[in-house]
Assembly symmetry: C2
Homo-oligomer: 200 residues x 2
């Protein structure tokens, strides 16, 4: 495996600092897996990634290379600098035990990415109520423009696909390997990621 690559085991999550200027690459090592990503301002954790601000500025729900992910204070937190997939979701909140009970009543409930993010971010002082809509790397949510209907489809990512972000401020990142069957084509897999000080 490439040196410096970290592994997030299936159905788990992690959190780590990402300094301004550093590059975070999120890799789908097996294909068809989703990684929920959150970002907080490391110097003021009340500033957090905002789907609504980002979609407003981008004027699209299809975010890819060149787009910036904005905070609730309208400041750029991350810039997408590379993307081999082009299909990600920024509409839905991380799955939780409540959404498992709703969507998978016949399966053993799981705390989901919400629970995994809550645990990973607790040491940084993030309460569960402060977990917003995540940028869901590789998640494939089809929107029917006419009816408005949403469908969660298997990701189009293949083994080795990746998306890379540059930090535009000092951040704390939360990142998971998805726990919800519908989001990853019914199989649970790890997520890999790598942090580099810069692309130099």
């Amino acid at each position: 495996m490439t040196p410096g690559v970290q592994i997030i085991a299936e159905r788990s999550g992690t959190a780590f600092p990402l300094p301004c200027g550093a590059i975070l690459t999120v890799i789908d090592p097996c294909g068809e897996q989703v990684a929920d990503l959150l970002a907080y301002n490391a110097r003021d954790m009340d500033e957090v990634i905002s789907s609504g601000r980002t979609l407003d500025y981008a004027e699209t729900i299809r975010l890819t290379t060149g787009h910036r992910l904005y905070s609730n204070r309208s400041r750029a937190m991350l810039t997408i600098i590379d993307d081999s997939v082009g299909v990600h979701d920024f509409l839905l909140t991380p799955c939780s035990i409540d959404t498992f009970l709703h969507f998978y009543p016949d399966l053993p409930p799981h705390r989901g990415c919400f629970g995994n993010l809550a645990e990973a971010l607790r040491p940084y002082g993030v309460a569960p109520d402060r977990i917003p809509i995540a940028f869901n790397c590789f998640m494939n949510v089809a929107v029917d423009g006419e009816s408005g209907n949403l469908r969660v489809l298997p990701p189009v990512s293949k083994a080795g696909d990746r998306i890379a972000f540059r930090a535009e401020m000092d951040l704390v990142i939360g990142l998971t390997a998805c726990s919800a069957p519908d989001s990853n084509g019914g199989s649970f897999k790890p997520i890999h990621y790598r942090v580099e000080a810069s692309l130099q």
Copy 2:
């Protein structure tokens, strides 16, 4: 004017308690105007309306009669019980001075619905960072399912159109008359609303 109707002047906002079971009707008195709506649990203001949870449960971005608006804790806060329009937005955050500077660089900047909501909710202990994506009554945001592109179009609401919500818990509501030219067809108008203890 109908007894009990309250007026929100153009480009302003208000906040008020809405007890469990009460009915809130938001009325577009002139047509083609938008009202940004927020809801907080009156007994614990950390519980707040959540676009991501709501869209996940509804499996559509086109919310109308029968749909419930959920909190960040996956609990129903409001049920839409009547809707003469059927086109509302739950993707975008309220406009702020930053979004004005971005989208309308040639116009005098305005604090927007974000600033109006922040002021109206301050007496309830809501900090500006706690203002999430609002349920934007009558706002017409077209999504191209293929490209993902978003377009903010004039509302399809006509004079007298309305949407009504039943409170599913004791709430504090934030509500505005939109300040952003693109959202209301370029003219600023008031919003009317009415609160009834129940439909009986």
